[in-house]
């Protein structure tokens, strides 16, 4: 017997059988354990469906134990839940199963206020990048818009502007995760998975002045500043909307605003902190 082994076992004999050592034998359940149990019980194989009213008309909303899993305008399926169920199964592999007729708590309030940050979402089928894009998009306040490039920059992938567009196009929970609030960097409204007219409807319903944003876009204006506060914003920012016409200063780029000595608004973050310093 070596001295080393003898020393080790003596240490174990004195400290090893104590209560603290036993506590360390507690483990987490292995990865996938909860899913395995729910699969065995047949609880995982479907989503529940409810129909709710919104600015975009009636919506089919599906949800499961993890959260809300998809949102679709009922009109796309002629209001027919059966048609929708077929589509849902094809898209997600999950059938619609009978469940509570009641929507998940907070859903109605979120649709009314346009703030859906506190709802739980089942984004399990998405890539980490897509999840990051959607999580960031969720922060855009109702009544405001941000460019695709803003989302890309905020999630630390400033060059991935196109990928942000594709990720938003695959948003399984539109309206709630407000991909309609993400617009082209030149200020134009841009595309939308549910059609551009729907995007305009949703934005108008939450008070975005689309005509004005497009006029600014036509004039090449990307940012608005106030010559009293010397802060600049994206044009739809709640703070930009409070600038009196007499004090409004227009900028064609964040760089020119910064060069003129304007600070980026902390609310709408029109430029990164790095650019600003």
């Amino acid at each position: 017997m070596t001295a080393r082994a003898s020393h080790r076992s003596n240490a174990a004999a004195t400290a090893g059988a104590g209560a603290a050592a036993l506590r360390r034998l507690r483990v987490e359940a292995p990865r996938g354990f909860v899913d395995a149990v729910l699969d065995r019980l047949g609880l995982h194989e479907g989503d529940h469906l409810v129909t709710v009213t919104s600015a975009a008309g009636d919506l089919f909303v599906t949800f499961n134990d993890s959260g809300i899993s998809s949102v679709m305008p009922a009109a796309v399926f002629d209001g027919d839940p059966e048609q929708f169920a077929t589509h849902h199964r094809r898209e997600t592999g999950r059938p619609i199963v009978p469940g509570p007729a009641r929507p998940p708590s907070g859903l109605a309030a979120a649709l009314r206020s346009g703030r859906a940050t506190s709802l739980r979402y089942d984004l399990s089928g998405l890539t980490p990048f897509e999840r990051a894009v959607l999580t960031k998009t969720l922060e855009i306040p109702s009544g405001e818009v941000r460019p695709y490039g803003w989302v890309a920059r905020e999630i630390g992938r400033p060059r991935a502007v196109r990928a942000v567009g594709s990720a938003l196009g695959r948003n399984p929970v539109p309206v709630l995760i407000p991909c309609h609030r993400v617009v082209r960097s030149d200020g134009r409204i841009g595309n939308y998975g549910l059609g551009v007219p729907m995007k305009r409807t949703l934005l108008s319903a939450e008070g975005v002045d689309i005509d004005r944003l497009e006029r600014l876009a036509d004039a090449g204006v990307r940012f608005l500043g106030s010559d009293t506060t010397r802060v600049f914003c994206v044009p739809s920012c709640v703070h930009a909307r409070r600038i009196r016409p007499a004090h409004e200063v227009q900028f064609r780029s964040a760089a020119s605003a910064l060069a003129t000595g304007y600070r980026p608004c902390p609310h709408c973050a029109p430029a990164s902190v790095r650019d600003a310093s």
Binding site: R23, R24, F33, L43
Partner: protein, 207 residues
């Protein structure tokens, strides 16, 4: 994933068993799995035991009314199921001659691979070996108290005995563990005590 309090989890169950059950399993998976792993002797056995616990629990809950669900002592109730399943498993295994060896809890399983041991290093592995040497009536209370962290009242409820008896059994089990640790030959501890001295090692003794 937000951590929900016990009452919130039970409210979810009472609200809709099918929807709330995921949160319930998540809340107690660690406790049930830890107990299962330290009672049985391999991860696959523990996995079966812990999964079966939640499957049985779900079937039972189907028959509960709202009040029964909301007043549920979740952990003690679940671990009662785990312990009963484990005892039944041992009894069944004992009746099958080819598995007779696996049914004797006092004998450490020499087939245990390193992954079945605790991750916590040599002392933990040594301790896991000691635990498997405890007789069932000592192993269950000490695992429930010191690995899972149940209160004595909860243990008494699981074992269906007075609180004083639960306390005494935990204390005796700890004494026994300490005695086993002190008596462990150096060479055995060095290999993580997965095997008894040669004479007691069933793989070598039974031919």
């Amino acid at each position: 994933m937000s951590l929900q309090g016990d009452a919130a989890v039970l409210d979810g169950l009472a609200d809709d068993l099918d929807i709330g059950y995921g949160a319930f399993v998540r809340a107690h998976a660690g406790a049930v799995y830890s107990a299962a792993l330290r009672l049985s002797r391999s991860r696959s056995e523990a996995d079966d035991l812990a999964q079966e616990t939640f499957v049985r629990a779900y079937r039972a809950l189907r028959r509960f009314d709202t009040e029964q669900v909301q007043s549920l002592e979740s952990r003690a109730w679940l671990l009662t199921i785990t312990v009963n399943l484990w005892r039944n498993h041992l009894r069944r295994a004992a009746r099958r001659p080819q598995n007779a060896r696996a049914a004797v809890p006092e004998v450490a399983d020499h087939r245990l691979g390193p992954e079945a041991m605790a991750e916590g290093g040599e002392d933990s592995r040594f301790l896991v070996g000691l635990l498997t040497e405890l007789p069932e009536h000592h192993r269950v209370p000490v695992v429930l108290r010191h690995v899972v962290g149940l209160s004595y009242a909860e243990i008494a409820s699981v074992l269906d005995c007075p609180v004083g008896t639960a306390k005494a059994n935990v204390a005796r089990a700890l004494d026994r563990l300490r005695a086993l640790a002190a008596a462990a030959p150096d060479g055995i501890a060095d290999t993580g005590l997965v095997c008894h001295p040669r004479s007691a090692c069933p793989g070598k003794e039974v031919r």
